[in-house]
Symmetry: C2
Subunit: 256 residues, 2 copies
């Protein structure tokens, strides 16, 4: 039975700047069921308010406070550990970290920096890391879907730095258990009765299963043929798209 | 007993463009012992003739044919497998691969591309790899020594592509067993009586030990405190520099 839902955004509701057919209506059906929903994303090319604005423009009715992003979690981590990071992130994301001190870098923050992934920036990060700075990564995704095809994602550059500096990144987005827990707690649910819906078999599906949630893999966005073979347990299902996911969920709602 | 020597170059004989004190004299002593020597390098920022020219300018007397480079091995591999690679390499190295077809890329060749490691180039490589192209890497070194300190090396970017595309690179330089074997065969030696001298505990020392050679780690170049703790067997020793390595080797020569 299901008491709460975590929903990935890009590749589930929309691809690039295009809503996936029928998803606005399906989301409304889900919302009208009364089930709590939180939206969890590792997107690091846009600040939270821009993601929210885009959702509204695409026709989804979503409360800003229900949006849980990897940069939010990274910001909280950096602040509570009093870290002053060198930021290998997208220029559009800089504002979200503007309140952090950037003198005397003692950490590296990494997201999808896009054109910011230059040799010199990677080397600067590497030199901080071999001197003991921690590596804070907003996700470790392998690739994401762009209009012209799959594209290499920040996780590759996280792995590059981990390898060169012989260190392990602290992941603040999906599939970090703390990240999932904060969203589930916020709904007042428990892991067992929460289902995660996503297009990423690793961060979304296997990440959710690893913390005891249920999961649905959708065959949209970055989904590739055969991804369902990589699901780590039978506590997950794979359906055509978000519309089919809602059809699957609604009869299984745990009515109080 | 020792019948042949493999010698790493950068970090052993010289650092950047500076000979390490006493090494020209020490190399001469080694050469005068009559022991065969081959020079094995993963350097991919310079073509082979430039490396040779630099060695002569720094005062080392080395036969061009005794120089074994990772790009040479990569070239042979690409040619024998009729591959037409997208090249993520340093502009100075392009000439060494100028005879290969570059239409309809069906492979990715990666070396230390330096400023060529842009997001767009990495993404182009990624897209070929997820379509099944093999990844040919001229080494997988983590870092190398520059005048202003340790710098991130091509191995990090190799790892990034392996992770994103879920593939494993074919390594054509050190520590590829085939690469070591070709140099040892060229001397007419066997692995057991050949000793490898280098500053890289992984590619040079552990790589040589893995194929049955002896090895010496020198505390120059990219050597970092504690590297000797990472040596994988007791068939290796660690000394101050190349001069001390020659002192260690000479009394152990296997005179025919």
């Amino acid at each position: 039975m299901i008491s709460g839902i975590l929903l990935d955004l890009s590749g589930v509701l929309y691809t690039e700047d295009q809503a996936i057919h029928g998803t606005a209506k399906s989301l409304l059906r889900l919302q009208q069921s009364g089930l709590p929903i939180r939206y969890v994303t590792n997107t690091t090319r846009k600040p939270r308010h821009k993601i929210h604005q885009q959702l509204l423009e695409l026709g989804y009715s979503i409360d800003f406070n229900d949006l849980f992003t990897a940069p939010m979690a990274a910001h909280a981590y950096l602040l509570s550990n009093q870290l002053s990071p060198f930021m290998l992130i997208h220029p559009d994301l800089m504002d979200e970290f503007a309140d952090l001190s950037c003198d005397n870098h003692n950490a590296v923050l990494i997201g999808d920096a896009d054109q910011g992934f230059t040799y010199n920036n990677m080397n600067r990060a590497f030199r901080l890391l071999i001197n003991g700075a921690p590596l804070i990564a907003m996700g470790k995704n392998r690739y994401f879907m762009q209009q012209d095809g799959l594209s290499i994602d920040a996780g590759a550059f996280v792995t590059a730095l981990e390898y060169a500096a012989d260190t392990t990144a602290i992941i603040t987005g999906k599939p970090d258990p703390e990240f999932y827990r904060s969203a589930v707690d916020n709904m007042g649910c428990d892991m067992q009765h929460t289902i995660m819906v996503g297009d990423d078999v690793e961060a979304d599906v296997n990440g959710a299963l690893a913390v005891g949630m249920q999961a649905i893999l959708v065959r949209t966005g970055k989904y590739r043929d055969g991804d369902e073979q990589r699901i780590s347990s039978d506590q997950a299902t794979c359906v055509q798209d978000f519309n089919a996911a809602v059809d699957w969920i609604l009869p299984r709602i745990n009515q109080p």
